[in-house]
């Protein structure tokens, strides 16, 4: 052991348990005799134990939902060839029926609550009441999150995640547009491909017309 300088260089490896046995014994001998290096060794050990005690980000159901929604957007699982024609025909037929119905009876744009983390509230006649999964929110109704988050599914299939400390309401639906008003905070959206009305997110600072399938808007 050459002295204090080398001892200081070895301290991180010593504290991480990486030194070879002979070097470890040599350093331990030096530390037993040198108070200044012992103090430094205690500081290194303290820094490492503080690091290891740092809290972890806990698992989140919302994060799972977002990630799996993004995974689903990569495309469906391949089906067996013999069912492909049947599935395609059924899809075309279903799409035709849906388009016909959509043309005949334009549906209002609503948001249904798929999941809630923490407390999420909606306005109800001047009061704020807790929102729970399964509820549907229509035009003009405000929702707010304080320390909570909400996962919402629009009537057109868009997935919207309202982040903490955010206020949102469903905007007015017109022939050309539908969407939400983010009064403050942040949202993340996985928009579905659509015909007809465009999806628009408004904020007090302006409007965002959706050009892609996945986007984020924040306004504070």
């Amino acid at each position: 052991m050459a002295g204090c300088e080398q001892a200081r260089r070895w301290l991180p490896a010593y504290a991480l348990g990486e030194l070879e046995e002979a070097d470890r014994a040599a350093l331990a001998g030096h530390l037993a005799a040198c108070e200044a290096c012992r103090r430094e060794e205690a500081r290194v050990a303290h820094a490492l134990s503080a690091l290891r005690a740092m809290p972890e980000v806990p698992p989140s159901a919302l994060r799972r939902e977002r990630a799996l929604a993004a995974a689903r957007a990569l495309g469906p699982a391949p089906s067996r060839r013999r069912w492909a024609w049947v599935a395609a025909a059924a899809t075309v037929l279903l799409a035709a029926v849906l388009v016909r119905d959509a043309i005949r009876r334009p549906q209002p744009f609503t948001l249904s609550v798929e999941g809630v983390e923490g407390v999420v509230e909606r306005e109800d006649g001047g009061r704020w009441i807790a929102v729970s999964a399964g509820e549907t929110v229509g035009e003009g109704v405000q929702m707010r999150t304080a320390l909570g988050r909400a996962t919402l599914r629009s009537s057109r299939g868009d997935l919207i995640v309202l982040d903490v400390d955010s206020v949102l309401s469903v905007g007015a639906t017109t022939e050309a547009e539908e969407g939400v008003l983010l009064q403050s905070g942040r949202l993340w959206c996985q928009a579905t491909k659509r015909e007809g009305r465009r999806l628009v997110v408004r904020t007090p600072a302006g409007r965002v017309e959706v050009v892609g399938t996945r986007f984020e808007v924040s306004y504070r």
Partner: protein, 196 residues
């Protein structure tokens, strides 16, 4: 470190939702925490984790098990974090507040029309003073030492893997970790001396 079974990997290649869910279950804790320690902000770490997850699923069909799966995953997450840091340096026009068109279309930058966001009240509340001091110290290390330290101390990776992920020789990876520990020790000691 973590392991993913060949069945789950095959299932993800076949776009099985059950396998996606199983893969998420394995990756969530290590990768979100790696990204959180790399960038210091939970919302950003969550966004980068999602990008990592999608990138992995897209690349899985072509993935060959030449390296360990965990090495490959950390490399993807690390590269996305570095991309983010590069964009940050380009100025406010390239912030994360942007609408992303995954189909290769137009990108709308919102940062010009919307004021930048700060940490949310919830994020502020969760940070104790000591944790905040540690996070600040880790951030001051710089990306190169930080990534090596995080991979070694928090994730327990061997130096060979750290070297592979960060693209440097094994000896350099080791030097960076030891240097980071010394820098961190000095920073924390100096913070405590200032407080005393």
């Amino acid at each position: 470190m973590f392991e993913v079974s060949p069945e789950v990997i095959d299932g993800c290649r076949r776009k099985s939702e059950e396998s996606y869910s199983a893969l998420f279950g394995v990756l969530e804790r290590p990768v979100v925490n790696f990204l959180h320690r790399m960038c210091g902000e939970r919302n950003l770490a969550e966004d980068l984790f999602q990008d990592t997850f999608v990138r992995i699923l897209k690349a899985l069909p072509a993935w060959q098990p030449r390296a360990k799966f965990s090495t490959w995953v950390f490399t993807i997450a690390r590269n996305l974090a570095l991309d983010h840091f590069k964009h940050q340096r380009r100025g406010p026009g390239a912030s994360t507040d942007q609408a992303i068109d995954e189909d290769g279309g137009k990108i709308i930058f919102l940062s010009e029309m919307i004021p930048g966001e700060g940490p949310s009240p919830a994020a502020l509340a969760e940070r104790s003073e000591e944790v905040e001091r540690l996070r600040a110290a880790i951030e001051r290390l710089g990306v190169v030492k930080r990534e090596a330290l995080v991979l070694r101390v928090f994730h327990g990776l061997p130096y060979t893997e750290i070297a592979e992920i960060t693209g440097c020789p094994v000896g350099t990876a080791k030097y960076r970790v030891h240097d980071a520990v010394q820098d961190l020790t000095k920073m924390l000691a100096s913070d405590e001396a200032l407080e005393a």
